[in-house]
Amino acid sequence: MLQIQCPFCGSRDEADFSYGGESHVIRPSPNVTDAEWADYLYNRRNPKGVHNERWCHLSGCGQWFNMARDTVTHEVIAVYKMGESAPNISAQPANKQRRDA
């Protein structure tokens, strides 16, 4: 259960939020090729490590915002508002966690 820092409301339970997938995906103009359009529709980064994604404080203030989260440790590295660019997070090595440990 994550505790998420809503930029407007402060720390709340994950249950208050909905997840919106990878952030900063640019919607292309309709003139692109089928392949480019398919890339926009279906291909996402899915990194092991820092992931910029968008969340909505759905059962709270209703606002969408961005979050940089480590997909390995679930550490929330930064939250920033919609429209702001991703903070420059020094490529810290994804906390190597042994799954069998």
Binding site: D13, A15, D16, L58, G60, C61
Partner: protein
């Protein structure tokens, strides 16, 4: 101990503006700052960074809408009557905090959720607006369609909390 009272004679208006105009609207109408309720002739509850609930015990909803329209005539806004949309419960008593803590994950400790704090969050599996009216006093606003459910849930939960508190 828990008293639950449904409060019917209160008119409410939902005021929404764009995020960019929120500060201006708040200044003109003396709206509540984030996560708080402001007292006064017209009370306002902070519902989000671009949204407030205005409430009054004696003014008609249309009057509240007019107040918004007058103050924000040059600002894009939407003020709609939501008196029928929301049901208000007032809870009081020594068990009130424990009953709420059975359904919501927000920090209800009195030094954190101080009087006039208001949070919109999940409560008992539905979305609710929780207001601290004072020590052991709370106000809940909930979509009217869930009011019947929430009332029963509060009463059932209180009966369990009572046993736990007595032991």
């Amino acid at each position: 101990m828990l008293n639950t009272e449904q409060c019917a004679d209160r008119t409410m208006v939902m005021l929404k503006v764009t995020l960019g105009a929120a500060a201006e609207a708040a200044a003109r109408l003396h709206l509540a700052p984030p996560l708080l309720r402001s007292r006064g002739e017209v009370e306002s509850y902070w519902y989000g960074p671009d949204c407030w609930i205005l409430a009054s015990d004696d003014q008609a909803a249309n009057d509240l809408v007019e107040i918004c329209n007058d103050a924000l005539d040059d600002v894009l806004h939407s003020a709609v009557d939501c008196t029928s949309a929301l049901t208000i419960f007032r809870l009081s008593g020594s068990d009130a905090r424990d009953v709420l803590a059975s359904g919501t994950g927000i920090d209800l400790r009195s030094n954190k959720f101080k009087a006039d704090s208001c949070y919109r969050t999940r409560l008992a599996g539905v979305t609710a607006f929780i207001v601290a009216n004072g020590e052991d006093k709370f106000e809940l606003m909930i979509d009217r369609s869930y009011a019947g459910y929430l009332k029963e849930w509060l009463s059932d939960t209180q009966s369990i909390v009572k046993i736990a508190a007595a032991s």
